[in-house]
C-alpha cells in the first residue's frame, strides 16, 4: 500500500546554511559546499559526526564530487550520493534526505546543493534528437514564447510581467545571500539589453555559483541529540512528478498544477493556507503562470494580484521572499535547497528584514528540464 510522507515517521528541518550565491569565481565547489554545511551544522547545533547520510544536489559541476567536498568535515564513512535532476536537483536531494529519515533508515540526513557552471550538458544532443530550430531556442526563448502566449490569452502587458522582477529585486536586496542585491525600478527592469521576446536581462535569472545545506532529523534524533524543538520545521509532504502529454496546455504550468495539488493534498493543506511560497521564477512570466497553477489566484489574475501587493512580504502570501531565482539567483544544484532554507527561516520567524509576519505554512517549488517538478510543504507547529 502506498504511504505518503506525512504518514511515515515525522521529518523535521533542524538546520539550514548557505554560501552566498554569486557570479562564477575561482572558488572551488568544495569550499562553497563546506561553508554551507558548517553553517547548517552550527544552526542545528550538530557535529558532522551526527550526520548519517548525505545527498548532494548538483547538475553542472562534475561527476563524483561529493566525497572530495565532505572529507573536509572529517571522513566519517557515511553514504553519500549525487542527485542530478536539472534545476530540481537540490529539491530532489532534499526529498531523498527526507525519505531516508521518514523510512527510518537513518535519524539525521543532510541535503547539500552545490554547483559551479563548469560542465553544462545537453540531453537532447545526447539523445541524438533533431528539430527544426537547432540551437536557436535557448531557455530565454522558451519562456519568451510562454510570455507572448500568456499576454495574448489574458491581455497582460510587458510592464506587468516586468513587475515580478521589481518585487523580487526588492526582496533580494534584503537577502545577504542573494546574487542580485540591488532594488530595481520598473524602468530599470524594462531597460535593454532585451534577450528574447519581451524578456529583458533583468527578467532572466543570473548565471552563478553557490551552495545551500539543509539538515533533516527524526523526533528520536531531536530528543537524543538535545536539539531545539521550538526551531524545528516539519516537512509535511514531498511530491515529485514528470511531464505527461498535455497538448496545448503549457507543460511547466500543467506539471506545476499536478505536483502542487498532490503536495497540498498529502499535507492536508489548502492553497489559501500558504503564507510563504518559493517558486521557480527563472523568468518573470513563470511567477505569474505558477501562482495561477498553484491556485494562489484565479487564471489570468496573477498580474493584477501582484499589482495589488498580494504577493509581497506582508501581503496575502509572500512569493519568493528570498528574491527568488531572479534575484537570489539560480546556481542550479543549490537553488531548491536554498528555497527550503528560506521557507525554514520564514516559518521560524528568523528572516529578519524579509520576515513575512505570522508565517506558519510554506511551500517550495522547482521545475527542471525534462520536464520534472518537485514540491514540498513545510509547517511550523
Amino acid at each position: 500500500m502506498r504511504t505518503p510522507l506525512a504518514q511515515l515517521r515525522p521529518v523535521h528541518v533542524v538546520g539550514v546554511g548557505l554560501h552566498p550565491y554569486q557570479r562564477p569565481s575561482g572558488t572551488p565547489y568544495t569550499q562553497l559546499g563546506v561553508h554551507s554545511v558548517r553553517a547548517a551544522l552550527t544552526d542545528a547545533g550538530l557535529r558532522w559526526s551526527d550526520v548519517e547520510s548525505a545527498y548532494t544536489g548538483t547538475a553542472v559541476t562534475s561527476m563524483a564530487l561529493s566525497r572530495l567536498m565532505y572529507r573536509h568535515l572529517g571522513a566519517s564513512g557515511i553514504p553519500m550520493v549525487q542527485v542530478e535532476n536539472a534545476s530540481a536537483s537540490g529539491s530532489s536531494a532534499f526529498r531523498q534526505a527526507c525519505m531516508e529519515v521518514a523510512a527510518g533508515l537513518c535519524d539525521v540526513a543532510i541535503a547539500v546543493g552545490v554547483d559551479k557552471p563548469l560542465n553544462v550538458t545537453d540531453p537532447q544532443r545526447a539523445a541524438g534528437l533533431q528539430n527544426l530550430v537547432g540551437d536557436r531556442v535557448a531557455p530565454p526563448t522558451h519562456f519568451a514564447l510562454l510570455a507572448a502566449r500568456y499576454m495574448h490569452d489574458y491581455g497582460a502587458t510587458p510592464e506587468q510581467l516586468a513587475a515580478v522582477a521589481v518585487k523580487n529585486s526588492r526582496n533580494g536586496a534584503l537577502n545577504p545571500n542573494a546574487q542580485r542585491r540591488e532594488p530595481r525600478t520598473i524602468e530599470e527592469v524594462l531597460a535593454p539589453p532585451q534577450i528574447s521576446g519581451t524578456l529583458t536581462q533583468l527578467q532572466c535569472c543570473p548565471i552563478g555559483e553557490g551552495a545551500a545545506a539543509v539538515i533533516v532529523a527524526s523526533d528520536d534524533a531531536i530528543a537524543r541529540l538535545g536539539l531545539d524543538r521550538t526551531r524545528a520545521v516539519r516537512v509535511l509532504s514531498s511530491a515529485a512528478r514528470s511531464e505527461t502529454v498535455y497538448d496545448l496546455e503549457n507543460f511547466d504550468a500543467a506539471l506545476t498544477r499536478e505536483t502542487t495539488e498532490q503536495a497540498l493534498a498529502e499535507a492536508g493543506v489548502e492553497a489559501t493556507d500558504l503564507d510563504v511560497v518559493e517558486l521557480h521564477d527563472a523568468f518573470t512570466v513563470e511567477e505569474l503562470l505558477y501562482v495561477e497553477a498553484m491556485g494562489l489566484c484565479k487564471p489570468g489574475r496573477a498580474a493584477t494580484a501582484l499589482e495589488d501587493g498580494e504577493f509581497e512580504i506582508g501581503g496575502r502570501v509572500a512569493v519568493s521572499p528570498s528574491g527568488g531565482l531572479l534575484s537570489m539567483g539560480h546556481p542550479i544544484g543549490p537553488t531548491g535547497v536554498g528555497q527550503v532554507a528560506e521557507v525554514t527561516a520564514q516559518l521560524r520567524g528568523e528572516a529578519g528584514e524579509r520576515q513575512h509576519a505570522g508565517a506558519r505554512v510554506g511551500l517550495t517549488h522547482m521545475v527542471g528540464l525534462g520536464a520534472v517538478c518537485v514540491v514540498h510543504v513545510l509547517r511550523k507547529d
Partner: protein, 143 residues
C-alpha cells in the same frame, strides 16, 4: 541543386517543404519531430510508429523575436510555436519577411537557404511565413 539541411526532418523534392513526421498506429498520436523507439502517449514500441508526411502548414500559437543569441544564426530572428494542421505543436523559424505575423495567423513553410556549397548546391531548411491565402496586415514589424 537544393539539398535538405536535415533530411531526416523534411522532404527535399517539392517546391513547398513537407515534414517527415510519424504516427502511432496504436493510439493515433502524430509526432513531429518524428519519435523513435516508442510512443510517448501510449508506450507502443517502434514497430507501431509509422512514417507520415505532414503538410508544413498550421496556426501560430506563440512568437518570440530573439534579440541576443550566442549560436551561429545571427540575431535578430523570430521563433514561432505553430500548431500544425496535422496536430503537433512545433517550433520553427519565421522567414524574415514574416515580421507582421501574429498569434492566431495561418502560416506555411517555404524553403530558405542555410548555406551555399562551393559546387553551388544550396542547403535549405523550411521557414514559415504567412499563408498566401491569409490577409496580409501592414502594421509594421512586431517587437
Amino acid at each position: 541543386m537544393k539539398i535538405p539541411d536535415q533530411s531526416t526532418l523534411y522532404e527535399g523534392i517539392a517546391d513547398r517543404p513537407r515534414l517527415r513526421g510519424n504516427a502511432c498506429s496504436a493510439c493515433g498520436r502524430v509526432y513531429f519531430p518524428p519519435l523513435a523507439i516508442g510512443c510517448e502517449k501510449c508506450g507502443a514500441s517502434e514497430t507501431h510508429l509509422r512514417p507520415e508526411s505532414l503538410a508544413a502548414s498550421g496556426t501560430v500559437y506563440s512568437l518570440a523575436q530573439v534579440h541576443l543569441h550566442r549560436g551561429k544564426t545571427p540575431a535578430p530572428f523570430t521563433i514561432a510555436e505553430i500548431q500544425l494542421d496535422a496536430g503537433p505543436l512545433i517550433r520553427a523559424t519565421l522567414a524574415p519577411a514574416a515580421a507582421h505575423v501574429r498569434i492566431g495567423d495561418r502560416v506555411s513553410a517555404e524553403w530558405a537557404v542555410v548555406r551555399t556549397e562551393d559546387n553551388g548546391d544550396e542547403l535549405v531548411e523550411p521557414v514559415f511565413t504567412a499563408s498566401s491565402t491569409a490577409a496580409v496586415t501592414t502594421n509594421g514589424a512586431h517587437s
